[in-house]
């Protein structure tokens, strides 16, 4: 087998490892990639990353210990922000994402920790209590937050991977109330309609 063949085979292996979930949590540890792809696995990951970027995806490396690639976790994430209509097409409910957004904004603004009571209090300004609690539980189950025995919420593993905390706070501070005209221009009406039907 030529070098090029070997390389493209390894590229395909890396793509399968990163895109298909083989553990309870998504993502692959550095040592797993090293085991399957060889010690120069970062070269393959870089090559795959440039291929994925063309598709609007990218490989994100999350270090657990400083600069130790073997112990780091590799994920494939979107490289560009989603739009409201993308979100609905992907099967998310606007309400649920709003609840996650509220919860994460509170957690990030408070240094990664807040009480369940405080988060629920704000969520309840938008949703009925049972719904707020259900969304919170689901966000915890998905890994966006961790719940402690003392009823405190901590920033979860998924939030650390998927979220740019600085960007979140900046965009929350820049929040402007939605204008009906803008909404139409963005082509999000469909999403809005679906959302209002689903919620109400």
């Amino acid at each position: 087998m030529s070098r090029e063949d070997t390389f493209s085979r390894k590229l395909a292996t890396a793509a399968a490892m990163l895109l298909f979930r083989s553990h309870r949590k998504p993502g692959v540890k550095g040592w797993e990639l090293k085991y399957r792809l060889g010690k120069n696995y970062m070269k393959i990951i870089d090559a795959l990353n440039s291929h994925l970027k063309m598709l609007g995806l990218e490989i994100k490396t999350v270090f657990e210990e400083e600069n130790d690639l073997d112990k780091a976790r590799f994920y494939v994430t979107l490289s560009h922000p989603l739009t409201l209509s993308d979100l609905v097409t992907a099967g998310w409910r606007i309400d649920e994402v709003a609840a996650v957004a509220v919860m994460l904004s509170i957690l990030v603004s408070r240094g990664g920790k807040a009480s369940v009571k405080d988060v629920l209090e704000i969520l309840e300004t938008k949703f009925p209590r049972w719904k707020a609690e259900a969304y919170l539980e689901r966000a915890v189950a998905r890994g966006y937050a961790e719940k402690t025995d003392e009823d405190m919420l901590l920033l979860g593993w998924r939030a650390k991977v998927e979220l740019d905390q600085k960007d979140l706070l900046t965009s929350m501070l820049e929040l402007q109330p939605e204008k009906a005209g803008e909404e139409k221009a963005e082509g999000d009406r469909q999403a809005a309609d679906q959302d209002s039907t689903a919620v109400e």
Binding site: L19, F20, R21, S22, P26, G27, L57, K60, Y75, V76, T77, L78, S79, P81, L82, T83, L84, L87, I94, D95, V97, A98, V100, A101, V102, L104, S105, I106, V108, S109, R110, G111, G112, S115, I122, T125, K126, M152, R158, V161, E162, L163, D164, Q165, K166, D167, L168, L169, T170, S171, M172, L173, E174, L175, Q176, P177, E178, E183, D188, D195
Partner: protein, 254 residues
């Protein structure tokens, strides 16, 4: 004031300080709301007034908690700097004031969800196969049984011997099983429990479950052949890691 009372007051004071520090840590409150300097001077004062071993121990613990609080202050500052010193209250106010869609739109700017696909792994396939093989067949091979309704269960229960007779029946069944084992080795479960009618089959299966749980009978299951074999013991064996085995009595009567 007596020395004992003084000591008690000092202890209470230290406990209060520990409690304050723990509260800040547990509830994620702003650690700068606590005046560390004041706490330290209180600590010095109580230490000077009560130079006892008990007090030293308590003092060390309090000191440790205050040190944790200082570490928390350091972390808090670091996180605030990371969060551009944004006031949490301001964010909360904005979240309350804004509509859901605006919040989502702002969130989307900072959110890059993980892309991952579900797939069937060899391990999952193996689990599925094991589960499939452990299911009883719907018809044909099964030796006995109908679908058992709650009413049937109640009916059979009513016909069950009273408690005193139960021990006797168990003993009989155990002896029968030992005899069958001595004659032909491991005993097929379905052949053994098969009775003249469904009630008798059910009763035998019910009694046998007691013997198995008690450790008088071992059960060997072969999921590939869908076979359950019984190995009786003359003496009770202790179950170190007991597991549950569900046997459905259904199908056709023998």
């Amino acid at each position: 004031m007596s020395a004992e009372k003084k000591l008690m007051i000092a202890r209470e004071e230290l406990e209060r300080i520990i409690e304050i520090c723990e509260n800040v840590e547990k509830r994620g409150l702003n650690p700068f709301t606590v005046n560390v300097k004041e706490l330290l001077s209180k600590l010095r004062k109580t230490l000077e007034e009560n130079p006892t071993l008990d007090h030293y121990v308590m003092d060390a613990e309090t000191m440790y908690k205050i040190a944790t609080l200082v570490a928390l202050q350091h972390k808090w500052l670091k996180e605030k700097a990371k969060a551009l010193f944004v006031d949490a209250q301001m964010i909360a106010t904005r979240l309350i004031a804004m509509d859901k869609k605006s919040i989502v739109r702002a969130f989307l700017k900072a959110w890059r969800p993980i892309v991952s696909l579900e797939q069937m792994t060899p391990q999952r396939l193996r689990q599925g196969l094991e589960h499939f093989l452990s299911l009883p067949p719907r018809s044909g091979e099964r030796a006995c049984g109908w679908k058992v309704s709650q009413r049937d269960v109640e009916f059979v229960k009513a016909r069950m011997p009273v408690e005193e007779r139960l021990a006797e029946r168990l003993k009989d069944l155990h002896e029968k099983l030992i005899k069958a084992f001595e004659e032909g080795g491991e005993v097929n479960y379905w052949e053994f429990v098969k009775g003249k009618n469904f009630e008798e089959t059910f009763e035998k299966a019910y009694l046998l479950s007691f013997l198995i749980t008690e450790g008088y009978v071992d059960v060997k299951r072969n999921p590939l052949k869908n076979e359950i074999r019984l190995i009786p013991r003359k003496e009770k064996a202790e179950r170190k890691q007991p597991i549950s085995l569900v046997i459905v009595i259904g199908g056709e009567s023998g």
